[in-house]
């Protein structure tokens, strides 16, 4: 633990810390461009120069290890002069186009030039110009602005794992880019925009849209996958303009996936902004009263057994709570939050990511079963990659299921349950790896559990977890990776078939046969709508997707940016997001719609505000009593041992960029699909 003095303040930092970190510890702000705490140290921008006693010249604090007895000055005349010089050099080739630059207002160079720049330039020669690079539908480049900090190069190499960016040529001719024309084929490419300290890499979909100081910033939680990435929603005059990551070390660190960031333009298209009722075979605009009356006419007097409800992938826990209670009042036990028919929902430990996402940083071996983690949860995949990098390749990863490129070294073991059985019997080489590991983990994806034999697969994975000591003491390496933001919340709330109730597939079959007469779809769009033709379908949601087309009554709900909501991520961590803007048109917050409907049906639910709903949620599950922390689940028996079919596991996510109604409506996601998804061209023809 070296002790050093920074501007007369004595600080003690951890061994291996840099002088820059020591200065921050002492409360001194050090300007920097190339240094980023989550990337390797480059030391090439020279902005972080400080004066060190007994050193002949200023030192770059980001690259200088802190040592005992160092005496550092961060505000001496020498330091000021050195940084002024560095800034002047940086500005030599930087264009003076701040007024038309999207980075303006949140530009590191702009900010630091205020502190260290001169009021005018002494440089009278020609400035250099650099040709822009075409990096795909997400990152826009204006390379003349680049100051060669190489953050983007290091990010794409280290975090994203795609070696696209590099610093080519030399000296004055240095250019940052891919040399040959190439898009950045990564699910995390949007983070380059955040990383770039100047306006060289900016957001293509957000180009020339707004200035940062015009935006209202709201903290929220992402619903595009089950990771629960923390986000900040930036909105202006009732319009969501962009989504940025919010740092949460336990979940997304400071990255978010491209879908999280850019699917929001889907919220402006195909929205349900008023109630509709089907009359004469056609959906006609209606008032809320008319819509409720139509539902009342159908539902009143109907046996509860003939009513069913399905919850979709992006709904909040409040609305599921309200709908569950309403179904109870209607006397129906037919409700399910698992649209994909997956066989999960037993004890809590059987359906959450027990080790937590941050737990990956401790694991030393990982078996991935039936999950394409890169497409289903890019943030978790980057965490796995980070672990692999930090162990210099000692973190062994085995994959069972489809072949996919995780961006780190892995052993592809096989396609399906046969391989799983081999591991269980200890016949596979990877069994040795798991046996030798101190903290092994298993990630079971929906691709392994949404099959007919899902119960048996779950039992087999549990047996593997037991056999290889994945659950020992504090460590629980049994992890289920969900693809839907609402799934764990729904399971925690018990939005599953009650006593004698039907599950998703039985509800659909029942509806096709005519046994189920009313189906309430709460944002559920991923089920086979052709089976619902006979039934009276109520669709509540924000997007006009498959569910709305099949509906007899449409109740317009709020999108996730338009309501206060609680979501439980795949780790079982309950998090709350706040409303950034008001719902469009006549749309309302979803729990309030269900509450209003209950009133119209004379089955009034006992809550009048969101706090009361949340109290009810705590009654239903202790998950909601403690926000933002995952609660440990008890390791009990689950799964039903049985025969597994031999066909391979297939991931439910075929196209990372389009997985739900919002991303399907998004123009940016459509462009990404065209650019990056190999089968997209084929799909278009089909």
């Amino acid at each position: 633990m070296p002790k050093l003095t920074v501007d007369g303040i004595e600080v003690e930092v951890e061994a291996g810390a840099t002088v820059l970190q020591a200065c921050e510890e002492a409360g001194k702000e050090i300007p920097r461009f190339c240094y980023h705490e989550r990337l390797s140290i480059a030391g090439n921008c020279r902005m972080c120069l400080v004066e060190m006693e007994r050193a002949p010249k200023p030192v770059a604090s980001c690259a200088m290890p802190a040592a005992d007895g160092m005496v550092i000055k961060t505000d001496s005349d020498l330091v000021k002069k050195a940084r002024n010089g560095v800034m002047e050099f940086l500005l030599i080739n930087h264009p003076l186009d701040c007024p038309i630059c999207d980075q303006g207002g949140e530009c590191d160079l702009q900010d630091q030039a205020m502190a260290y720049g001169f009021d005018s330039s002494r440089y009278a020669e020609k400035k250099r110009a650099v040709k822009d690079k075409e990096l795909g539908p997400i990152v826009k480049t204006i390379m003349t602005r680049c100051i060669h900090c190489t953050r983007c190069v290091r990010f794409s190499e280290e975090v994203a794992g795609v070696g696209t960016m590099g610093a080519v040529y030399r000296g004055e001719d240095t250019e940052v880019g891919p040399y040959i024309e190439a898009s950045i084929n990564s699910e995390l490419s949007g983070n380059l925009v955040d990383l770039c300290p100047v306006g060289a890499l900016t957001s293509k979909p957000y180009a020339f849209t707004a200035r940062p100081w015009e935006l209202k910033k709201t903290d929220s939680v992402d619903v595009m996958d089950a990771v629960g990435s923390n986000i900040r929603i930036d909105a202006r005059t009732g319009e969501v303009l962009r989504v940025l990551p919010r740092t949460n070390e336990d979940i997304n660190e400071e990255w978010i996936s491209d879908k999280t960031r850019y699917a929001i333009d889907g919220l402006k298209r195909q929205r349900l902004d008023r109630p509709y009722v089907r009359k004469d075979g056609k959906l006609q605009p209606a008032s809320w009263d008319e819509a409720f009356a139509a539902i009342k006419a159908k539902v009143s007097g109907l046996d509860g057994k003939k009513i069913a409800a399905l919850a979709g992938d992006t709904v909040d826990c409040e609305s599921m709570t309200a709908l569950k209670d309403l179904m109870g009042k209607l006397g129906s036990a037919n409700l399910d939050c698992r649209q994909d028919g997956s066989k999960i929902g037993g004890p809590r430990a059987s359906y959450i990511f027990n080790s937590t996402i941050a737990g990956i940083d401790e694991a030393d071996a990982c078996l991935i079963v039936g999950a394409n983690v890169r497409a289903e949860a890019p943030i978790i995949n980057s965490r796995l990659r980070k672990r692999w990098r930090s162990t210099a390749g000692d973190f062994k990863v085995g994959i069972i299921g489809e072949k996919w490129d995780p961006t780190y070294k892995n052993d592809y073991l096989g396609a399906g349950p046969d391989t799983l059985q081999e591991i269980l019997d200890g016949k596979n080489d990877f069994a040795k790896v798991l046996k030798a590991a101190e903290k092994p983990m298993i990630i079971v994806g929906m691709g392994a559990l949404n099959r007919e034999d899902g119960d048996a697969v779950l039992a087999a994975t549990r047996a593997i977890a037991d056999k290889y000591g994945m659950v020992a003491g504090e460590w629980n390496g049994f992890n289920v990776l969900h693809t839907a933001a609402s799934r764990v919340g729904g399971l925690d709330l018990g939005f599953v078939p009650g006593e004698g109730g039907l599950a998703t597939n039985d509800i659909l079959d029942g509806a096709a046969k005519g046994d189920i007469e009313v189906v309430y779809l709460l944002g559920a769009d991923e089920v086979d709508m052709s089976k619902l033709e006979k039934a009276f379908v109520i669709y509540q949601g924000a997007m006009g997707d498959a569910g709305a087309q099949a509906a007899d009554v449409i109740l317009p709900g709020a999108a996730y940016t338009e309501k206060n909501g609680t979501y439980v991520n795949t780790e079982g961590r309950a998090q709350q997001g706040w409303r950034a803007i008001f719902p469009v048109g006549d749309a309302r917050e979803d729990w309030a719609i269900v509450r209003a409907l209950s009133g119209a049906l004379d089955l009034t639910l006992p809550y009048n505000n969101i706090d009361a709903v949340r109290e009810r949620m705590v009654e239903l599950s202790p998950t909601f009593a403690s926000l933002n922390v995952p609660t440990k689940a008890e390791w009990t028996d689950f799964g039903k041992a049985g025969d597994m079919k031999s066909d391979g596991f297939t991931s439910p996510v075929r196209n990372f960029y389009m997985t739900d109604p919002i991303s399907r409506a998004s123009v940016t996601m459509a462009k990404c699909t065209e650019a990056f998804v190999k089968d997209a061209a084929a799909e278009k023809v089909a």
């Binding site: 190499e157 070696g163 696209t164 590099g166 080519v168 040529y169 030399r170 001719d173 040399y179 040959i180």
Partner: protein
Amino acid sequence: MSHLRRPAPKELQPTSFAFTPENQEKAKKIIAKYPEGRQQSAVMPLLDLAQRQTEGNWVPTVAMDYIADMLEMPAIRVYEVATFYTMYNLAPVGKNFIQVCTTTPCWLRGSADVVDTCKKELGIGVGETTEDGQFTMIEVECLGACVNAPMMQINDDYYEDLTAESTKAILDALKKGEKPKTGPQSGRKGCEPIDGPKVLKAFCGCGAAPQDADASEGDA
């Protein structure tokens, strides 16, 4: 910046590349020089090998990809190396690749004459290639032979102590397919003083007499 420092246009880029069996052996030996896990360090000699193998004395993009595969590194890391070092040509050059040094010492000693002679004799400008593909001439920065200034490098050889006449003689010889004598063209040996040895004369037994001009040349 010369066009040789930018990737050749698509029409010129070959579609495939592989080392000849001979070079394959050489590559294996080169890679074996580096310790386990540090094989990527072989990227520079392999690029050189690829350049020597390629018609036109350059490194096509496919060759860089080939080397990246061989060393299991991202292609962009190879591109970075190949574009950084000026000795790798990114576009084809003539059979005789002339690099005339025009940095200060050579310029003071008359490198402008050398450049002019090349231009006149070959009918090309700086950075251009003759129509028959025999000669490419570029200006380069210091090649580290200032004591024998002015000088130029043709392929792997240095020609030093040049004048307009000796430059023309060299080019004429090359045009005829001959290989001119490398090293100083003024008759002095290596990089000793231009008017003969000045020190230790009593010990080397050479007195004050001029050295034999044909004596073998030291490494340039």
